[in-house]
C-alpha cells in the first residue's frame, strides 16, 4: 500500500469512525445515567432516517430542514420510549429493563417493516455533501470532510453542556447516584428525558449521515451500526462522551484497515467489532480512557 492509498484509508476510517462516534454518544450518555443498554438506539436511528427521507422526498424539504425536523421528531420518540417503556422499570432489576429494551428494539424494527415495507429506499446525498475533491491521486468526497467536522462540533457542544451548565452538572451527579440526586430536589425524570432527547437526536443525525454514505435505508439498517456503536462506547470507556468518540474512531479505523490490509478477510469485518469488544472486556474492561466504572 503506497502513501496515497494509506491516506485514502485514513480518511475513510475517519469518516466511518465519526459516524460510529455520533451514534455511540447517545448510548454512552444513557448508560452513564441509567446503567441501561438502550438496545433500541439503533432502531431510533432507523426511524430518524425514514423521517428525513419522508421530509426530503415526500414533502420536498431542503436537506437541512429535513435533517433538523427529523432530529426533533426523533428526540421526541426517544423521550416517549423512555417514558413509556423504561420509566416504569426504574426500580426493577436491571435485566428487566434490558429485556424491555430488546422488546422496544424489535417493536420498532417490525413496525418499520409493516409501515415502510422491507424494500430498501434510495437515500439521496444532497449537493453540498456530494462534491468530489481530487488532490493528485487522492479523491475525497465532501461528505467525508463534513462528517468529522460535525462530530467535532457536536463533541465540543456536549462537553460545554456537561461541564459548564447546570443541566450538565445534574447529569454528572445523576450518573453517580440517582436516588441521592432525587433527594437533593432535582427533577431526575426531566434530566433523563433530556438525555434521551439529545441521544436520540444525535442518533438521527448519525443515521442520516450514515444513509448518505451508504445511500439506502431499510427497517433493519439500524441493527448493525447500533451494535457497533455500543461496542465503540465500551471501547472508549462507557459513560464518557470523549471516550465514545475515541472508541468510535478506533473501531472505524480498525474496520477500514482490516479490509484494506487483508482484503480476503473482508467477510469477517462485521465480527471484528465483537472480537475487539471481548478483548477489551477481558483485558481492560474500563475502556481506553480507563475511568472507573461506578457499579
Amino acid at each position: 500500500m503506497d502513501g496515497t492509498q494509506f491516506l485514502q484509508q485514513i480518511i475513510n476510517g475517519l469518516t466511518l469512525g465519526s459516524l460510529y462516534a455520533l451514534i455511540a454518544i447517545g448510548y454512552t450518555m444513557v448508560y452513564g445515567i441509567l446503567r441501561l443498554i438502550n438496545f433500541a438506539h439503533g432502531d431510533v436511528l432507523m426511524v430518524g432516517c425514514y423521517l428525513a427521507w419522508f421530509g426530503a422526498v415526500q414533502f420536498g424539504l431542503p436537506w437541512w430542514a429535513a435533517l433538523v425536523g427529523s432530529m426533533a421528531l426523533t428526540a421526541l420518540l426517544g423521550v416517549l420510549i423512555d417514558q413509556g417503556a423504561y420509566r416504569p422499570l426504574r426500580t426493577a432489576p436491571r435485566i428487566s429493563a434490558l429485556i424491555t429494551a430488546i422488546g422496544v428494539s424489535f417493536f420498532l424494527e417490525n413496525l418499520g417493516l409493516v409501515i415502510f415495507g422491507g424494500r430498501p429506499k434510495a437515500f439521496e446525498r444532497p449537493e453540498i455533501f456530494n462534491q468530489l475533491y481530487q488532490i493528485g491521486e487522492l479523491r475525497v468526497l465532501s461528505h467525508s470532510v463534513w462528517v468529522p467536522i460535525i462530530t467535532a462540533l457536536v463533541l465540543a457542544g456536549l462537553l460545554w453542556m456537561i461541564y459548564r451548565t447546570r443541566l450538565g452538572m445534574a447529569m454528572r451527579a445523576l450518573s453517580r447516584d440517582l436516588v441521592t440526586v432525587q433527594l437533593m430536589g432535582i427533577d431526575t425524570n426531566r434530566v433523563v428525558a433530556i438525555t434521551f432527547a439529545i441521544g436520540s437526536a444525535l442518533a438521527a443525525a448519525g443515521g442520516i449521515f450514515w444513509a448518505m454514505k451508504y445511500p439506502q435505508i431499510n427497517p433493519l439498517m439500524g441493527v448493525l451500526p447500533g451494535l457497533k456503536a455500543f461496542v465503540a462506547a465500551v471501547l472508549g470507556g462507557i459513560g464518557n462522551v470523549v471516550g465514545a468518540v475515541l472508541g468510535g474512531l478506533v473501531l472505524g479505523f480498525c474496520e477500514i484497515m482490516l479490509v484494506a490490509l487483508w482484503p480476503e478477510m473482508a467477510g469477517y469485518r462485521d465480527a471484528l467489532a465483537f472480537v475487539l469488544l471481548i478483548g477489551f472486556l477481558l483485558f481492560r474492561p474500563t475502556g481506553i480512557l480507563g475511568q472507573e466504572l461506578p457499579s
Binding site: R35, L89, S96, V104, N110, L113, V114, V234, G267, F274
Partner: protein, 364 residues
C-alpha cells in the same frame, strides 16, 4: 375471585409422602402425551405434524435456555449460536456424500466431513457434544463479565458464529447454506422424546444440589461464592448443559425444515426464545415448556391478523409482519405489568394440581 385465588392451592402435603403417586401420575402423563402424538400422526395432516414438531423443538430450546437465563440468572443471548452449531453438525453428518457434493459447488467440503455418513441418533449426540464443547470454550470469556455486559458479549459471539458460518465456505457452504437435508419421517417421536428427556433432566437438575447452587448464584453471586460455591464452574455447568440440549434440538430443527443457511440463525431466533421464557416465568422449567407450546401454537393462531378478513361487512386487508409487532408488544407488556410471567419461579407439580382440583368452592 381473582385468578391468583383460584390457582392458589393452600398448604400442600409434604413432597416425600406423595412421591410414589407423583411418579405414576407422571408416567400416565407421558402415556397421555404419547397417545396425543399418535393421534396427531394418524389423524391430523402434515401441517399439524410439522407444527407439533416445531413446538417440541421450541420446548427443548426454551427450557434449556431457561437453565442459563432463568435458573442461573446469567442473561445470555447466545442460543442462536448453539442452534446453528447443532444444525450444521447434524446436517453435515447425516447428509449422503453425493448430496453434499451437489451442495458444495463453489468450494468442496473439507475431507473428513465429505465422506462421513452417520445415522441420526449418533449424529445428534455428536452435535450436542460439539455444541457443548463450543459453549465450554465460550464460557471462559463469557463468564469473565456479568449482567448486561454478559448479554452484549454473548450477543456478539452469536454474531461472530453467524459471520463465520457465512465465510467458512469449505465447511458451511457460506451464504448458500445446505439444502436437501434428509427429512425425518418420524421426527415427531424424536422431538418429543428429546423434549420429555430434556424436561425430566432439567427439572431434576434444577431441584438437585447443583440447581440450588445455581439459584443461589442468581440471587446473590457474592453471597453464593462466600458460602463455598464455585461460581464459575457452576455457571459453566449450566451453560454447557444448555448448549448440549440446544445443539441436539438444532439438529432436529434442521431435519424438520431440511434447508438451513446462516440467515436462519440470527438474533431473531434468540428473541423468540426470550419471549417464551419471559412469558413462562424466568426460572420455571415447566413455565418455559408451557409458554413454548402457547407461543408456537398461539403464533399460528395469530396468523389471522396477517390475512385479509371481513369484520361486520367491512373488509380489512391483512397486514404482513403484524405478528412480530404483537409479540414485541407482548414482551414489553410482560416486563412492565407481569414480570413474573405465567409461573414465576415455581414449577408445576401434581401436588399443586390435585390440591387445586380437590378444593370445592371458594376458600373460607
Amino acid at each position: 375471585m381473582s385468578l391468583r385465588e383460584i390457582f392458589s392451592p393452600g398448604p400442600l402435603p409434604p413432597a416425600h409422602l406423595t412421591r410414589r403417586r407423583d411418579f405414576w401420575l407422571s408416567l400416565m402423563g407421558i402415556m397421555l402425551l404419547a397417545g396425543l402424538l399418535m393421534g396427531v400422526e394418524r389423524l391430523a395432516g402434515g401441517y399439524w405434524v410439522h407444527m407439533t414438531c416445531l413446538a417440541g423443538i421450541y420446548l427443548v430450546l426454551a427450557s434449556g435456555y431457561n437453565l442459563v437465563n432463568g435458573v442461573t440468572g446469567q442473561f445470555s443471548l447466545a442460543p442462536n449460536a448453539f442452534v446453528a452449531c447443532g444444525a450444521y453438525v447434524t446436517s453435515l453428518l447425516t447428509m449422503a456424500p453425493a448430496e453434499k457434493a451437489l451442495n458444495f459447488i463453489l468450494e468442496p467440503l473439507v475431507w473428513p466431513l465429505s465422506v462421513i455418513h452417520l445415522p441420526l441418533g449418533l449424529a445428534l449426540v455428536i452435535a450436542g457434544l460439539v455444541t457443548a464443547l463450543m459453549a465450554f470454550g465460550m464460557g471462559f470469556t463469557v463468564f469473565r463479565v456479568r449482567g448486561d455486559y454478559l448479554a452484549i458479549v454473548t450477543l456478539g459471539l452469536g454474531e461472530v458464529i453467524r459471520v463465520v458460518a457465512n465465510n467458512a465456505q469449505g465447511v458451511t457452504n457460506g451464504p448458500l447454506g445446505l439444502k436437501g437435508i434428509p427429512h425425518l419421517t418420524n421426527n415427531l417421536w424424536w422431538t418429543w422424546g428429546l423434549a420429555v428427556v430434556a424436561l425430566f433432566v432439567l427439572t431434576r437438575l434444577a431441584k438437585s444440589s447443583y440447581g440450588l447452587a445455581l439459584k443461589a448464584i442468581r440471587e446473590d453471586e457474592g453471597a453464593a461464592e462466600s458460602m463455598g460455591i464455585n461460581v464459575f464452574w457452576h455457571k459453566m455447568l449450566a451453560f454447557t448443559t444448555d448448549a448440549f440440549l440446544e445443539g441436539m434440538a438444532g439438529g432436529l430443527l434442521a431435519q424438520l425444515i431440511t434447508t438451513i443457511s446462516p440467515s436462519l440463525f440470527t438474533f431473531f431466533l434468540t428473541f423468540n426464545l426470550l419471549i417464551i421464557i419471559v412469558v413462562g416465568g424466568l426460572g420455571s422449567m415447566t413455565g418455559a415448556a408451557l409458554a413454548a407450546l402457547l407461543i408456537t401454537f398461539g403464533g399460528e393462531w395469530l396468523r389471522v391478523v396477517e390475512e385479509p378478513m371481513s369484520l361486520l361487512g367491512l373488509s380489512v386487508p391483512g397486514i404482513p409482519g403484524m405478528r412480530m409487532v404483537i409479540f414485541s408488544l407482548l414482551l414489553m407488556a410482560c416486563m412492565i405489568f407481569m414480570r413474573r410471567g405465567l409461573l414465576g419461579k415455581s414449577e408445576f407439580s401434581w401436588r399443586w394440581l390435585l390440591a387445586v382440583l380437590s378444593r370445592r368452592g371458594p376458600r373460607p
